[in-house]
């Protein structure tokens, strides 16, 4: 009897101590009651008519839909979508994957609508199995080449982007006839990984953080007692720290824009001057067939600086305009009260730091002086990232980029997280708790920190962290 009573006390006490245990903490979801809190230019840009005009032209170009020929030529012959702004749209132009039914209800995954919208011919293209109307915009890569029998060959790393669609069958594509990659085989053999668009808000600030600041932050992480180390990816040309993309593989926003224009939309430009074949076609094959080249009939590169322009906006190439647009995009504005109230958010912020999340998700870094606009100068970038690459264990996508191995990812900047729908590099989840859970696995630097969150905090404390993250 005595033993039973004692046992009851031991069962009861923890329930008292962790009162929220029975009612599990939940991801508050995309913040919708505070309006759209991203996508605006810096105040210093708004205050300068020339800079504002430059920004607005960049925004218009960012949202423009490209075609194979015509007024906005160059699309294809392979591509993932026909506009930057179609993929980078949540919660505002410059963001990430949109959705319908989730604030601000931008619409279904635009990749799922390409046949309906006439961007691709349904007779020559199919919508890949992983593109869903209510899913994220996705870029696909095959970590390994296939052998001739369709078996992925681990001794032949690939990792390049396999564009989803071709221009074949479009009325403006002539006789160009290309097959889509073998997505079904890749899926059935686990030889496919996905990436979703990275949000570009505040990226001008990220570009303007000097290497010395990043290195000092790295040194300060020493002695963290959490199992975390980290490293930097470097630009192969000048050896400085690179910082854009899921693996911090790109040095600058200009490179980032030029590569995306070429890889995602098939538009050659002054940085990436050729139309891009698939990795198998180019590196180990014959390249694109001649009847798929120069489809725009303007020669190469398809996007150029315009010598006949009369203003900065009309002289600058599309890629240059994308760069300006991103450089001038201010960081998202967090909410101090939503969700969960000011106390919970403030508490969550302290807990986020206390259990170790902030070791990698560095709350802020300071920029250096800027030649572009005062808003970028000596500013506090609240990016929640150290811009380092970390071993993330089972999240590995087995794609190596620059110095980053298959299991290493840049610490994802968390600013704007409150209004993102799809999470992690491949958009596998919309649930913040699942995304946090994915941080622990064999080989992950974040296992100990995730354990602190998952096992050592009370549900109420966990909820505070979730509220804080959705306030960003």
């Amino acid at each position: 009897m005595k033993t039973t009573k004692l046992a009851s006390v031991f069962v009861f006490l923890p329930a008292l101590f962790f009162p929220g245990m029975a009612s599990a903490q939940t991801d508050p979801g995309v913040r919708s009651s505070t309006g759209v809190n991203a996508g605006q230019p810096f105040a210093s840009v708004t205050a300068s008519p020339n800079d504002l005009a430059f920004f607005q032209t960049g925004l218009a170009q960012f949202n423009e839909h490209q075609t194979v020929t015509g007024d906005n030529p160059g699309l294809g012959p392979r591509f993932n979508l026909d506009s930057c702004g179609a993929c980078h749209s949540q919660p505002a132009p410059g963001g990430t994957s949109p959705a319908s039914g989730i604030f601000p209800n931008i619409g279904p995954n635009p990749q799922s609508q390409v046949i309906a919208n006439g961007v691709v011919n349904g007779g020559t293209n199919t919508i890949p199995y992983f593109v869903l109307a209510n899913g994220p915009v996705r870029e696909a890569r095959f970590p390994f080449f296939f052998d001739q029998f369709g078996n992925p060959n681990p001794n032949a790393p690939n990792g390049g982007v396999e564009d989803l669609f071709t221009v074949s069958g479009r009325s403006d594509a002539g006789s160009c006839s290309l097959q889509q990659p073998s997505f079904n085989t890749a899926g059935s053999t686990n030889n496919i990984i996905f990436r979703i668009p990275t949000p570009t808000f505040g990226t001008g600030l990220m570009a303007n953080i000097d290497d010395s600041t990043l290195l000092a932050n790295h040194r300060a992480q020493g002695g963290n007692n959490l199992g975390i180390s980290g490293a930097f990816n470097h630009n192969g040309n000048d050896g400085t720290i690179s910082r854009f993309g899921w693996k911090a593989q790109n040095k600058s926003l200009m490179i980032f824009a030029g590569e995306a224009y070429n890889v995602e939309m098939g538009i050659s430009n002054e940085l990436f001057t050729q139309d891009r074949p698939l990795p198998g076609e180019d590196q180990l094959g014959s390249g694109l067939p001649s009847n798929c080249l120069n489809l725009a009939r303007v020669g190469y590169p398809e996007d150029i600086t315009h010598s006949g322009g009369t203003t900065a906006s009309t002289v600058t190439s599309d890629v240059g305009l994308f760069n300006v647009f991103m450089q001038f995009l201010d960081q998202p504005t967090p909410s101090t009260t939503t969700p969960g109230g000011a106390t919970s958010i403030a508490n969550g912020r302290r807990l986020f730091s206390a259990i170790g999340c902030a070791t990698c998700h560095s709350p802020s870094l300071t920029t250096q002086a800027s030649h572009l606009t005062p808003g970028l100068s000596n500013a506090t970038a609240n990016l929640f990232s150290d811009i380092e690459i970390h071993h993330m264990g089972a999240l590995a996508d087995n794609v190596s980029q620059g110095g980053a191995g298959g299991d290493q990812f840049r610490t994802a900047p968390l600013w704007g997280l409150g209004q993102r729908i799809f999470l992690l590099h491949d958009g596998r989840t919309t649930n913040l708790l699942s995304a946090i859970e994915a941080h622990e696995s064999n080989g992950s630097e974040a296992t100990q920190t995730e354990l602190n969150f998952d096992q050592l905090l009370t549900p109420s404390q966990q909820q505070d962290i979730l509220n804080f993250l959705r306030s960003l």
């Binding site: 006490l13 080449f145 296939f146 369709g150 192969g236 730091s353 190596s400 299991d407």
Partner: protein, 336 residues
């Protein structure tokens, strides 16, 4: 004889040709309908490594080579044996060693089957004194640096203090987070020029004390201590920066085929004759490891003398691009 060689070469050429044809040109796509059951890749598995750890042989113990078996963590390199509490386990292995000499040796937690309410974890980690970015030359200094670096979210509960555990002197440092209601108790010692630390994290300080008391059952090598721990005896003596100056009698720089920008920390063991007998790459791409291995085979060192006898010596050499460390500490206790 020449005929035989000629036949052999012909056959070899034929085999290579056939092999090449069988494998075909790698491709990213195509019609593979003739192969209804292609081979699948394993999921959630790291198949493409970046800079990673490796060693010149598979026999010499490595710092990261410890394992949990039969509820005991055993690390041959450090001469360390630590019994886990009943129903505790290593659920996930750690990442590879870092390029600044940091090792996650084991991450211990209650097993999923554990029925109680115990909430805590034990992180066993090591930081070498060869490549650390922290301006410290021994474990005590590293722990003091850790204390001095604590941000405002934490409160020191017990400053670094010498304690006696398992018949050895260790440094104990406790701190906590009032907002998280969590506590960290760090117990550290130095073995072979590495700070080896046990980090207990939890809400329940009684549980943590109990776990710390259980540490008395662990075994450590004789050398273990807060500022000693410089090898010797049956293991090599460790000397920071031994591969410098007059100690190196012959050297050859590696020739890298590809320009990279990562630090490549290399731990070497030099035999009594001054030749390198073991190479451990904490973090290197395969091509870097190959080039450095080739170069190190030409290195010759002045044999290391201790008490008038030549002994094996262990040290670190940084290749590639070294990160910029913080200002050096005033003392250099890891250098004999």
């Amino acid at each position: 004889m020449n005929m035989r060689i000629s036949h052999f070469l012909t056959l070899l050429g034929l085999c290579i040709t056939l092999l090449a044809r069988a494998q075909g040109a790698p491709q990213s796509g195509g019609d593979f309908s003739s192969n209804p059951q292609p081979k699948k890749l394993p999921t959630e598995t790291i198949l493409v490594n970046g800079a990673w750890s490796s060693a010149s042989d598979s026999v010499t113990p490595l710092p990261e080579g410890g394992k949990v078996a039969n509820n005991v963590y055993n690390n041959q390199y450090f001469g360390l044996t630590y019994a886990l509490s009943p129903d505790w386990t290593e659920k996930y292995s750690g990442p590879p060693p870092s390029d600044s000499g940091y090792y996650v040796l084991a991450q211990i937690r209650p097993a999923d089957t554990f029925k109680g309410t115990i909430r805590g974890s034990v992180l066993i980690a090591a930081q070498d004194l060869f490549f650390s970015l922290t301006p410290a030359s021994n474990t005590l200094e590293l722990i003091n640096f850790s204390k001095d670096s604590l941000n405002v979210d934490y409160k020191v509960e017990q400053p670094p203090t010498a304690v006696r555990i398992a018949n050895h002197s260790l440094i104990r440092f406790d701190y906590g987070s009032p907002v998280a209601e969590l506590h960290w108790h760090v117990l550290a010692t130095q073995i072979r020029c590495h700070m080896v630390q046990f980090v207990f994290t939890g809400r329940d300080t009684k549980l943590m004390e109990s776990l710390i008391q259980d540490m008395n059952k662990m075994s450590l090598p004789d050398e273990a201590g807060p500022i000693s721990g410089r090898g010797g005896g049956e293991v090599p003596v460790c000397v920071k920066d031994y591969a410098n100056g007059e100690n190196v009698m012959e050297r050859m720089d590696p020739v890298f085929a590809e320009r990279r920008f990562n630090p490549v920390p290399v731990r070497i063991i030099i035999d009594k004759e001054g030749k390198i007998k073991h190479i451990h790459f904490l973090s290197a791409f395969p091509d870097q490891a190959k080039a450095i291995t080739d170069a190190l085979s030409h290195w010759r060192f002045k044999p290391y003398l201790r008490d008038g006898h030549t002994v094996e010596v262990e040290t670190g050499v940084m290749f590639g691009r070294a990160p910029r460390p913080a200002a050096p500490s005033s003392t250099n206790a890891a250098t004999e």
